[in-house]
């Protein structure tokens, strides 16, 4: 394994953003740490923030482990990240409007037509439609990793319904409650405006036919969904209704919600439901989760859907390789944040390279998520690598490969005390009339020693993320 960048220590010195945390940990006796950790877990369980894990069996209401050691960015580090993330969110939305419109980027030969139009996430049903304010992806979750003091890479974009923002907010809440002194000693940018900004973003994309203060709802698949907690949490914070498909209905050219005072017209739906399920008259006819007729109302300007159906074509892992190209093509700028070099197994030359270097690479499914169906070459046995090789050869177009990055590590509380563990970062960029980003995000940490997989479904935990004020 190559050496990784430790965000707290550089050449034996404590890096400035972590200076005060060093005193904090030094002065904390082991018993206090254990007691606080237990307190944190009890609090998380009491508020009910849990995360069901798909496909692993066990306790469906397992807690995501919370690590009390914060992850810290300086103001200038964040300023650059913020510019890079916003730039990316603008480019991704410009791409979506384009590929459902004239397809200039394809005509210009900057991205292969087949990659876009034959993509299973490309939605024929919204061709020719420009959503309010030209926004398809209203919440862009950009997964970022760090490999050095000034080296940040985007691992992937999440343009549909990125989850996890509740952990960002709850982690902060938790830290402030348990360690109020830390927040007096450090000047930490607040993240608690997120729900106001989200509400403002959703309001700003009300449909053309809405001539009053928009009514916003969150549409959830229901309490069996692993992110249900987050859906209800965000609805509470924003003061909007949390609804399921059966609570909404179409009448004439509008969508209404059933309430105790009779039907109430709905203008903006923040849906946490995949495209395939939102309208059985347009997509999967067997879906019981959606609202029959919703898409006809949407396309005729009677309601807004966030994210817009079809947004998924921008966050496909094969399309990802072209995001820097989108930045140049639509914005005429150079990308501030780099992509991780990526080989597309669908290309013959790339495939050859990948098969020759499989043991060194990370290989992912194009449409995969949650850390499933991936190979981390250096961490796998020979037999596992060979088994994966067969899967790639059988369907090369379904895989991309990336070098195994030396992800940065931050100090983390472990059984033996404090030890470095690898982390990534997911900030949540809001796109409406304006583009907004709260200073912070969700830091995920791979709690197993040496592990590079930070997904909560694969044993990852979360940390509070600090951005220090200037």
């Amino acid at each position: 394994m190559t050496t990784h960048f430790n965000e707290m220590y550089l050449n034996g010195e404590v890096r400035s953003p972590y200076a005060r945390l060093e005193d904090w940990t030094r002065s904390m006796p082991a018993e206090l740490r254990i007691q606080k950790q237990a307190e944190a877990e009890a609090l998380f369980r009491r508020i009910g923030i849990t995360f069901a894990v798909y496909g692993e069996g066990g306790d469906p209401d397992r807690l995501i482990p919370f690590d009390m050691f914060p992850r810290v960015f300086t103001a200038s580090e964040w300023a650059r990240l913020e510019r890079g993330i916003k730039q990316r969110a603008r480019a991704l939305n410009a791409f979506l409007v384009d590929v459902y419109g004239r397809g200039e980027i394809v005509r210009a030969g900057r991205i292969p037509a087949a990659l876009v139009y034959q993509n299973e996430a490309y939605e024929k049903t919204v061709v020719g439609f420009i959503p309010p304010k030209g926004v398809y992806s209203h919440i862009v979750g950009v997964d970022i990793v760090r490999t050095g003091p000034n080296d940040f890479f985007v691992l992937e974009d999440n343009c549909r319904t990125p989850s996890g923002v509740s952990y960002m907010l709850e982690s902060r809440e938790m830290m402030m409650r348990m360690f109020p002194d830390l927040f007096r000693e450090n000047r930490i940018e607040p993240v608690d405006r997120y729900h106001e900004l989200l509400r403002r973003t959703l309001n700003s994309v009300a449909p053309v036919k809405c001539d009053r203060e928009p009514t916003v709802v969150i549409l959830t698949p229901g309490h069996y969904n692993s992110a249900y907690y987050e859906h209800s949490f965000l609805a509470d914070l924003m003061g909007v209704e949390l609804v399921e498909g059966a609570d909404l209905f179409v009448d004439g050219a509008f969508v209404y919600m059933r309430t105790t005072e009779g039907p109430k017209r709905v203008d903006v739906i923040y849906r946490r439901l995949d495209d395939a399920f939102i309208d059985p008259l347009c997509y999967r006819p067997d879906s019981m989760l959606g609202v029959p007729g919703l898409m006809d109302v949407y396309r005729s300007g009677g309601v807004s859907i966030c994210s817009a159906p079809g947004a998924g074509v921008a966050d496909d892992k094969a399309v990802y390789t072209y995001v820097p190209e989108m930045v140049r093509f639509y914005l005429g700028e150079e990308p501030i944040l780099n992509n991780v070099p990526t080989w597309q197994c669908g290309k013959a030359d790339d495939l050859k390279y990948v098969l020759e270097h499989l043991a060194e690479l990370v290989v992912k499914e194009v449409h995969g998520s949650g850390g499933y169906g991936m190979l981390v070459g250096p961490k796998c046995t020979k037999a596992e690598v060979e088994a994966f090789r067969l899967k790639i050869v059988a369907d090369p177009g379904n895989y991309i490969a990336q070098p195994t990055l030396a992800l940065s590590a931050t100090p983390t509380f472990v059984e033996e005390g404090i030890a470095p563990r690898h982390v990534d970062l997911r900030p949540y960029c809001l796109v409406g009339e304006r583009i907004e980003l709260v200073p912070g995000g969700l830091t995920r940490v791979a709690l197993k020693e040496g592990s590079l997989v930070v997904n909560s479904s694969q044993g990852g935990g979360v940390k509070d993320t600090w951005v220090l004020a200037e």
């Binding site: 419109g101 397809g103 394809v106 299973e120 179409v250 004439g252 008259l281 029959p292 007729g293 109302v297």
Partner: protein, 269 residues
């Protein structure tokens, strides 16, 4: 030719229903081969909802029926002037890229048998000759037999049993054309039956294949021809379900019965 259409779809429910929602593709396409003279759609007890022209050029109109009702009647009456363009969809305004019609759906998923049917034709990929050969292969592999299949029959099932109706012919053709790399779509519409009763099924369906230089061209394996001035085109999709003239939902536990009558007549200009 001037075609008169009278199309009635009647839903009868065992128990009264409320809150029925429908999405219609029941308006003739705009292209050089047909021109609407008169067109009227009524839905008993219905309120018209959102309407728009989609990326494929189809006019989509939503309807809601508040209820409670135990019967809904959708009636389409109209007059369309048609011209024979030998199947070519000339002058049709649409913006969906043809490449988006290469994907298969559950109803058109490719099996070894369908692939075999696709590759038996030896004509060059992308050619008009190949399109004709594939359409002919479908006519020969699936015999016309009313009642032999239902609305949910897939292309693979229709081929396996070797018989079906226009819906099956169109879906099989879409499947094998896509297997040969040719964008293909399912088209729904109306067809004038001739005096000998040769052309069957007044509520009709066929397929369109996309050809370099010609654009979208219709092929009707059920009648072994390309659509001409006896055809009225309504809308398209990747399969029968997507292209359905009426997609509807009723939250009902009871029985639903469906009667459809279609009359297409030719009249003097």
């Amino acid at each position: 030719m001037l075609l008169l259409i009278d199309h009635v779809t009647r839903y009868r429910y065992g128990h009264p229903v409320r809150g029925v929602v429908q999405s219609h593709r029941l308006t003739p396409s705009r292209f050089d081969g047909q021109q609407v003279v008169e067109w009227n759609v009524t839905v008993s007890g219905g309120t018209p909802g959102g309407a728009f022209r989609d990326g494929a050029g189809d006019w989509v109109q939503g309807w809601t029926i508040k209820g409670p009702v135990d019967e809904i009647e959708v009636r389409v009456q109209g007059k369309v002037s048609t011209t024979d363009l030998a199947g070519v969809l000339r002058g049709h305004r649409e913006s969906t890229p043809p490449l988006a019609y290469l994907r298969q759906t559950p109803a058109t998923s490719l099996t070894p048998e369908l692939l075999d049917l696709a590759t038996r034709a030896t004509e060059a990929d992308g050619s008009l000759a190949l399109a004709h050969a594939l359409a002919l292969a479908v006519s020969q592999a699936v015999a016309y037999r009313p009642g032999s299949t239902n609305a949910k029959t897939t292309a693979a099932e229709a081929l396996a049993q070797g018989e079906g109706v226009c819906q099956d012919h169109a879906q099989v053709l879409c499947t094998i054309a896509r297997a040969r790399g040719m964008p293909a779509r399912y088209v729904s519409g109306y067809l004038l039956a001739d005096a000998e009763g040769q052309a069957h099924e007044a509520a009709h369906a066929w397929a369109e294949l996309h050809l370099e230089g010609l654009g979208w061209v219709g092929f009707d394996p059920a009648n072994e021809c390309c659509p001409d001035d006896r055809y009225v085109r309504l809308g398209s999709g990747l399969d029968a379900q997507e292209a359905a003239p009426i997609r509807g939902s009723a939250r009902t536990v009871g029985e639903e019965r469906l009667d459809v009558t279609v009359a297409v007549l030719a009249t003097q200009q």
